[in-house]
Symmetry: C2
Subunit: 207 residues, 2 copies
Amino acid sequence: MSPAGRRPGKPETRDAILEAARQSFSESGYDGTTIRAIGAAAGVDPALVHHFFGTKSALFAAAVDFPISPRAVLPGILATDIEHADIEHAGEQIVRFFLSLWEDPTSRRRLLAIVKSAVRYDAAAAMLREFLRREVVGTFVDALNTPDADLRATLVGSQLIGLAMVRYIVKVPPLATASTEVIVAAYAPTIQRYVNGRVDSIEPVAR
Amino acid sequence: MSPAGRRPGKPETRDAILEAARQSFSESGYDGTTIRAIGAAAGVDPALVHHFFGTKSALFAAAVDFPISPRAVLPGILATDIEHADIEHAGEQIVRFFLSLWEDPTSRRRLLAIVKSAVRYDAAAAMLREFLRREVVGTFVDALNTPDADLRATLVGSQLIGLAMVRYIVKVPPLATASTEVIVAAYAPTIQRYVNGRVDSIEPVAR
């Protein structure tokens, strides 16, 4: 291990691997991508790809540059393995966690770059789609374990990305300047309903 | 009136006016923009700007290239001046109308261009923000006439833009391929709550 936890390898080699990985994941999808092919495209030994990035799943996350690992974070937010957390508070927890990501300058910059690339380039959209499908929706489905969990995951995602668009990207007031507590009160019930409420009928709303 | 309802004027003159309008609206905002200044920047008489585009508000909509006029459409969806429409069905009506916009190829292309520009360019985001604030939020506030109507308008907008991002831009399944009725059932209660439900407390969700 080098000092300060830096990963080994010349930066240009790492960048070449990441670039080859982005191209392969966006063109061939996750299942159609192999470490061997990425190594070949980057002109390095596949063992070096493993050495730098670990598993294919970890390389995928590095290629998307997502600021957190959904598989590490989501189960704790959705279920009961964090103290006091349970499914009935998932809505509030998800909103608070999502806001904390966007309020952190480093992860906000990375999330902004992901959104901009996905809106601008079809290949980046394809890679993000695959990442969300596998890592976010997949984790959600595993944690929720209901037949419609994949629909629920995309409903949650749609409200969160919309919140980010209005608050952090287009910056429309008053949502752009509202306090965390206003945001949580407005969105937690929405997210909670998407997680475990009825989503298959138009019904009267609780007042 | 020329054939097929085409507006008068050379295309290059119209384009020059629109370009000058985009620059002025994004740099100086709506209130800081005058027809006179736009005419000067485009090298034409202000009377010609009026002749081509009518009011400053209409020129603003043309500059954003929004596919509908919020001031013409929103009051009917929110209130009671369309047969059978009333505030208790606003959620469903808004979702159906929004889907119809995105399912129409021409307006989808224009909406996509707006989103892409806003994500890519700060100036385009500024103009869109001003447009949403004045034309969409403003119309919503006039129709709803409650103290928190501006917050409610941005909540509605955040869910709709998020739906568009997931369904039409990043195209994450199953939301990308779900039927209109599935979308309406999932989102109408959310939008309805944002329009006239409680949005200031975390409360149990109706099941």
